[in-house]
């Protein structure tokens, strides 16, 4: 469906519009939630072969859209997200809707309950359109380690959509969803959002309930929001932000309901260590131009130093892999998930189910995590990483005495080609800008601020 197609006007599909415009249209009966869903679903299915954003479409989405239309027609007190189609990353549980983590291990898993974040979206009247493609168990940076194939970037299909929430970011960028949930353990919302030219917000640890998010590294995992603008992303986060007794690490503080855009007096930290690590001229030029623009709007640039950020990636891969090896120990072919056929003993069944059910990257991380937790190495690696993590938090606390926010790139490159043969150490090292905030539990947002020569934002 197209709108604004009067003489000379630019035609715009419903699926490309912002949340606030769509919310007004729904309230004023300029379109129905069913029409909006149809438009977004048509786009999603049209680009599926090209982008591979989705793993499963929600066959109950039409019912949800009709319910939204009923609430609107009845004049009920509805939220901004009523009738808005939202995609959900496939590691966030959706009751009755397959949730695979892009893994053979959970290929047939149908959750008996929904994540709290999904419940909050559904209570607000949002329409779950489907489950998005990702790296297996959220382990990867290109959404190419899962069993459903790689997600491709809407800007250039030869490039990755980023990872691990690549399906969510590509769906929003391509009009295959208006909003999407992702998960962010070390940058998995922010980096794909950056690659696809959309906004990705990773909230403070504890601000969004992790109940129903299938665990990768519990002390780092967060459910993040993806939208085509800061305002759209803010609406989505504000809907899922809140205390939940089902998550032991949840906290009560709600974020401000106001989004003023006021920059006057805001102190923006420019971190020497991060700027030094940014070696791509296009990225540093775009960042500096954005900072200058913010300065023009009344913000103040402040030089800061966070020495421990250079060690964040090393400590992150120790902690996240250790937690992954522990969390993924539950997949043994007994209570849920894949079980190998024709096994002998119980021990043989455990081992073969895990060996056949997990993919290569997941097995490597489990092996790494098992190693750093094993006798003789625990002190040298895991305890040292925890110490580094405390130092990072401390250094950020000191930095935030001098500034209110920190501006930095999201990733060392604007995009990565699919099927490139980058080594694991180089791939992990590239998380240098996203991992520090993950380690400190800080909120972080990825906002487009320029275009590369290859058109990536």
């Amino acid at each position: 469906m197209f709108c604004g197609a009067k003489d000379g006007a630019v035609m715009m599909s419903l699926c490309d519009m912002s949340v606030s415009v769509l919310a007004d249209m729904l309230r004023n009966k300029h379109c129905s939630a069913r029409e909006l869903l149809t438009d977004v679903m048509d786009r999603a299915k049209a680009v599926q072969t090209e982008l591979n954003c989705y793993i499963t479409f929600n066959d109950k989405a039409v019912q949800a859209a009709d319910e939204a239309d009923r609430r609107i027609a009845a004049g009920e007190d509805i939220s901004l997200l009523t009738g808005i189609p939202v995609a959900i990353k496939d590691n966030i549980s959706t009751r009755g809707l397959r949730t695979t983590c892009a893994s053979k291990m959970l290929e047939s898993y149908i959750p008996p309950y929904s994540a709290t974040a999904v419940e909050r979206l559904e209570s607000a009247g949002a329409v779950v359109i489907g489950k998005t493609n990702m790296d297996e168990f959220a382990m990867g940076s290109a959404s190419d380690t899962g069993i459903f194939g790689a997600v491709r970037n809407p800007v250039d299909n030869n490039y990755s959509a980023g990872g691990s929430s690549g399906g969510s970011a590509a769906a929003v960028a391509g009009g295959a969803a208006v909003l999407a949930l992702g998960s962010d353990t070390g940058g998995s919302v922010r980096q794909p959002a950056s690659f696809c030219g959309v906004v990705g917000f990773c909230p403070s640890y504890g601000a969004v309930s992790r109940y129903g998010l299938i665990a990768f590294a519990s002390s780092l995992d967060r459910i993040g929001s993806i939208g085509r603008s800061v305002r759209d992303t803010f609406y989505l986060h504000n809907t899922i932000n809140g205390y939940d007794i089902k998550d032991v690490t949840s906290f009560e503080k709600k974020i401000s309901p106001e989004l003023t855009g006021e920059l006057k007096g805001l102190r923006i930290g420019v971190c020497a260590e991060m700027m030094k690590a940014c070696t791509d001229a296009e990225i540093s030029d775009a960042l500096e131009a954005a900072m200058k623009e913010m300065e023009k709007q009344g913000a103040e640039l402040v030089d800061i130093s966070i020495p421990s950020v250079k060690d964040a990636v090393k400590a992150y891969y120790i902690i996240s892999s250790a937690e992954a090896s522990s969390n993924l120990a539950r997949y043994d072919g007994v209570r849920c998930g894949f079980r190998a056929k024709d096994t002998g003993s119980l021990a043989d069944m455990y081992k073969r189910s895990r060996t056949e059910g997990f993919g290569a990257e997941v097995k490597r991380r489990i092996m790494l995590g098992t190693f750093v937790l094993s006798e003789g190495y625990f002190e040298a690696y895991y305890k040292r990483a925890l110490s580094c993590r405390r130092r990072i938090s401390y250094d950020f606390d000191r930095a935030f005495e001098l500034c209110d926010i920190i501006a930095a790139p999201v990733y060392p490159r604007a995009g990565t080609a699919l099927n490139n043969s980058i080594s694991a150490t180089d791939m992990y090292a590239a998380d240098i800008f996203t991992v520090p905030a993950s380690m400190a539990g800080l909120p972080a947002v990825s906002v487009p601020c320029g275009r590369s020569s290859q058109d990536f934002r």
């Binding site: 008996p112 120990a329 209570r335 849920c336 098992t370 040292r384 110490s387 130092r391 150490t425």
Partner: protein
């Protein structure tokens, strides 16, 4: 550094073939080499504790036993079933 891949695989309940063992050893050596550069931080001036967690709270679940077991590969008389362990 020598890493006993077979031993780590045993601990992780994974079968690693000889071919896979070589590539996993290369991977682990590369990553652990990077991790070995992690310095030991002096925490003398760091006073913050861990995050506050809520008290353990018992809440009743609305889920039935059948729903909770609905994804199990094998169920027998309301219990998870596994291969015979006693001959």
């Amino acid at each position: 550094m020598e890493i006993d891949i077979k031993h780590i695989a045993e601990l992780a309940f994974l079968d690693i073939s000889d071919d896979e063992a070589d590539s996993i050893a290369d991977y682990l050596c590369g990553i652990i080499g990077m991790m070995s550069e992690l310095p030991e931080y002096d925490e003398g001036d760091i006073t913050s504790g861990g995050m506050e967690l809520r008290e353990d709270t018992v809440i009743s679940s609305e889920l039935t036993r059948e729903e909770l077991m609905s994804n199990a590969p094998q169920v027998s008389e309301g219990c998870f079933a596994v291969p015979r362990t006693v001959q």
